[in-house]
């Protein structure tokens, strides 16, 4: 590109040399292209001369100076984290008429479902009175339904089937589609790092991005970071857990492998089926670790990737497995549980296994296999004991250790997320605090949006 002779100049020289007619049409086409695409790929733009507040060292301590933050936007409902729960919350709140915004640290919706390649939506169904029924309905149910319009987008879905597996690309596409239809203001590549407090209430969040540190002001914040980053920053009472941290990977070319020969060599199964042909999904549970410890996360990322690579190489050297290849390790490491809110109602495993209806039921969790009854989830699991202006949904709701295994699954995240979004929308409409939301109104809205409340 540093060559001073452009194509136009070359043609000018050539036409001047008498070859014009031969290239005439070409020249015209080029002219029209240039008319529509005037901006070159690389061009100078002015450097923004914003005030800078770098940290500095004073008395041996790194000090962050006090500074005013630019407010990126003001909104009614702000959802932090675009995983299954956050996405459902944003769509629900926006559909109910609230001015809604969502901030996501990566470039897609779905969180661990898509970015973590978890793919299997467990506990979508439950059995009540001897009949299997779908409990993941409403926003999440609609998303699953929309997969059906594409080939190879979803498997294990239908009358008698449960726990479908989706194609991550299809899921990401459909999540984009639904959030844009609902006109939710979306910010990708932004990581909420702190909370804006106004007395005992949350008034918004501070987020970091390539555009520097900025603020978003909101009347209600839904913490769907999964790790409870926002309620922890706001000082809400919470608990912290270790859990297995793993990494999912996918095998390619599975149809061209000799399964019988591999089985003989000790590879019992190549993994679970996926909507895409010849691709298999493989889980790696991993050891129990602290998902908030960056050193641990880094160590496990190294370890898991190394382990998976060597494992697949070994399979490729096994007769029958030569054509297999490692299609992908998940972009996001599989953190299962970290912080859990201490909510106004801590739902216990025992309560879930002797199901009873709560007056404030806002969702119903499914059974892992659809064999057992669903478990009603009360509004209190997402409501902090003291903090105002914030709800949590997804895997950080208030529950005991044993129930985490059900509550952290995608199905429950979709339904609790949906409920949190609807609750925030009702609070906006009524101008009340989140803890004063009228339960009948919330339940009515959820039912209107198709949710199953038992």
């Amino acid at each position: 590109m540093n060559n001073p002779m452009t194509r136009r100049k070359l043609f000018q020289i050539l036409s001047a040399a008498g070859l014009g007619p031969a290239f005439a049409s070409r020249v015209v086409a080029d002219e029209s292209e240039h008319k529509t695409k005037k901006i070159p790929e690389i061009q100078p733009i002015p450097v923004e001369n914003l005030p800078r507040y770098p940290a500095f060292i004073r008395d041996g301590k790194v000090i962050q100076p006090e500074r005013p933050l630019p407010v990126f936007q003001e909104t009614d409902v702000l959802v932090v984290g675009g995983g299954a729960a956050g996405w459902a919350a944003a769509v629900s709140a926006a559909r109910a008429g609230a001015k809604t915004m969502i901030v996501e640290r990566y470039g897609c919706f779905g969180g661990l479902w898509t970015g973590g390649i978890v793919l299997v939506v467990i506990s979508t169904h439950a059995t009540e009175n001897g009949q299997m029924l779908q409990v993941v309905r409403g926003i999440g149910g609609e998303l699953l339904d929309r997969h059906a319009k594409f080939d190879n987008a979803i498997v294990n879905r239908g009358e008698t089937k449960f726990n479908p597996t989706t194609d991550p690309e299809a899921t990401m596409f459909l999540m984009d589609e639904m959030i844009q239809e609902a006109k939710v203001k979306t910010l990708f590549h932004c990581w909420a790092t702190d909370v804006i407090m106004d007395g005992g209430a949350v008034r918004g969040v501070v987020f970091d991005s390539k555009a520097g540190r900025q603020a978003i002001l909101a009347k209600a914040v839904v913490d769907t970071t999964g790790d409870g980053d926002i309620f922890a920053a706001a000082g809400a009472e919470h608990e912290q857990r270790l859990h297995a941290i793993g990494l999912v990977h996918r095998l390619g070319n599975v149809d061209r492998a000799d399964h019988a020969a591999l089985k003989k060599a000790g590879y019992k199964s190549l993994g679970a089926i996926e909507p895409q042909p010849s691709v298999r999904w493989v889980n790696l549970r991993g050891p129990s670790a602290n998902g908030l410890d960056i050193n641990e996360l880094t160590r496990l990322q190294f370890e898991h990737r190394n382990k998976i690579w060597n494992h697949v190489q070994k399979m490729r050297k096994t007769p029958g497995g030569e054509k297999l290849f490692l299609l992908q390790t998940a972009p996001q490491i599989g953190v299962r549980t970290t912080r859990l809110l201490a909510g106004t109602h801590q739902l216990t495993y025992k309560e879930s296994r002797e199901p009873r209806k709560f007056p404030d039921t806002i969702a119903v969790g499914g059974a892992q296999n659809s064999k057992h009854a669903g478990w009603p989830i009360p509004y209190g699991v997402m409501l902090p004991k003291k903090l105002d202006g914030l709800l949590t949904a997804g895997r950080s709701i208030s529950m005991d250790d044993k129930l985490v295994e059900d509550g952290r699954l995608i199905g429950a995240c979709l339904t609790t997320g949906h409920a949190a979004g609807a609750a925030a929308a009702v609070a906006m409409k009524d101008g009340c605090r989140l803890r004063d939301v009228s339960i009948p109104k919330l339940q009515k809205l959820l039912r209107e949006q198709g949710a199953y409340l038992g």
């Binding site: 889980n283 382990k307 495993y349």
Partner: protein, 401 residues
């Protein structure tokens, strides 16, 4: 005999019988109030239980006073206390009088009693399930179980006795009931003893024959009992916690259904002979509706015969129904799925996750020292059509290891 002759004695007798019936029903119905099984008041059950289990516990001692009183007044139990006897007598009053055509019949009841006691010596009392208190109790138990052929049969023993009595009046009590037979044997034995003590010649008008024939029958019973014990086998079913070993259990169990009735999880049901005829109608454990709760030892408290050992809650929590086993081919966790259902369901924390293949895979690990075979895991396991984790009967595992 003397009490029945005058009016006051008759009234007294009637009152006593009604009280006994009410008490019997009370013992059958509110299992949470009185953890004493009705059938344990039967001396036949007590004697067989003591012989077969070779232990004398609280339950056995309940039958002793009844036994002792028999020596003072023959068949007083039948006339004053037996609820089945009262029901039969009531039925007799409603029906026109009929000739007692069976009067020349032999005393089958004595043979049954001797045969049963002989079998009990070898751990298999044959006709103990004909005990009237067991029959009465079994009638009430049938209502508590899911409707199966077995439960219907177990509940039909009392109506069957009533039917027999309708066709042949009074034959049940005087010729068939083994508890009656036992009482008669005791009376005869007592009389013979007195005769021997007074050095009298045997009274030929009322011969107290207890000797050779009874001994022979008892020997036959013992031999048959021993044969039954060795003849059992194939796949024994799961038995309630604290049950005796399989062969003794099927013999000692009186089929009163008390355990089936009191089980809050409804995991006990009468066996319809799927596991051999020896165990017909004895309780088997199935984890289709519930599991053996960690806070319950009702079946241990209500067994009248000692087939299920009387255990405190603490002791029962340490008794093993059978060890659980994981089928790793079916197990979701071992196949890369996010399932910890059994691990969470286990009340004894006997299951953990174990890494295998260098951490690439995991599987559930069962601590047999903690597992009681309560079936909570089997009940919870999501795989179908059969669970990936299930409780095995004890002996088959012993064979395998």
């Amino acid at each position: 005999m003397t009490t029945g002759s005058n009016g006051r004695g008759k009234r007294l007798r009637a009152t006593g019988r009604w009280l006994a019936l009410v008490a019997s029903v009370a013992l059958v119905l509110p299992w949470w109030v009185i953890p004493v099984p009705l059938a344990s008041f039967s001396p036949l059950v007590a004697a067989c239980s003591a012989l077969a289990t070779q232990t004398v516990g609280f339950i056995v001692l309940l039958g002793v006073p009844v036994l002792a009183l028999v020596l003072l007044s023959p068949r007083w139990f039948c006339r004053y206390a037996c609820p089945v006897g009262l029901l039969l007598e009531l039925q007799g009053k409603l029906r026109p009088k009929a000739a007692l055509r069976w009067l020349q019949w032999p005393f089958i009841c004595r043979l049954l009693a001797v045969l049963t006691l002989g079998g009990a010596c070898m751990g298999y009392p044959f006709f103990i399930w004909l005990d009237p208190l067991a029959i009465f109790s079994g009638f009430f138990s049938a209502w508590r179980t899911p409707l199966t052929v077995a439960s219907v049969c177990a509940g039909l023993a009392l109506p069957a006795a009533l039917l027999v009595d309708l066709l042949l009046p009074k034959v049940w009590c005087s010729r068939l009931c083994p508890l009656g037979g036992l009482q008669e044997l005791l009376v005869l034995g007592g009389r013979r003893l007195r005769q021997l003590l007074r050095r009298e010649r045997p009274d030929h008008e009322h011969p107290a024959r207890l000797g050779r024939r009874s001994f022979l029958v008892a020997c036959i019973g013992a031999a048959a009992g021993a044969a039954t014990r060795t003849a059992q086998g194939q796949t024994p079913p799961l038995r309630p916690p604290g049950a005796l070993d399989e062969t003794r259990f099927t013999g000692v169990c009186v089929r009163c259904g008390s355990c089936v009735r009191v089980c809050p999880s409804r995991i006990l049901r009468p066996d319809l002979g799927e596991h051999g005829l020896a165990g017909l109608f004895a309780p088997v454990v199935r984890f289709t509706e519930g599991y053996c709760r960690e806070n319950c030892h009702r079946c241990n408290m209500v067994c009248p015969s000692g087939a299920i050992t009387r255990l405190s809650l603490d002791e029962k929590r340490r008794r093993v129904i059978g060890p659980a086993l994981v089928d790793l081919d079916l197990c979701l966790l071992a196949n890369g799925q996010e399932c910890t259902t059994c691990i969470r369901a286990c009340p004894y924390e006997a299951l953990t996750i174990q890494e295998i293949a260098g951490g690439l895979s995991v599987k559930p690990l069962l601590d047999l020292a903690k597992c009681t075979g309560c079936g909570a895991c089997e009940l919870a396991c999501p795989t179908s059509p059969r669970p990936a984790i299930f409780v095995l009967p004890k002996p088959s595992v012993l064979k395998a290891s």
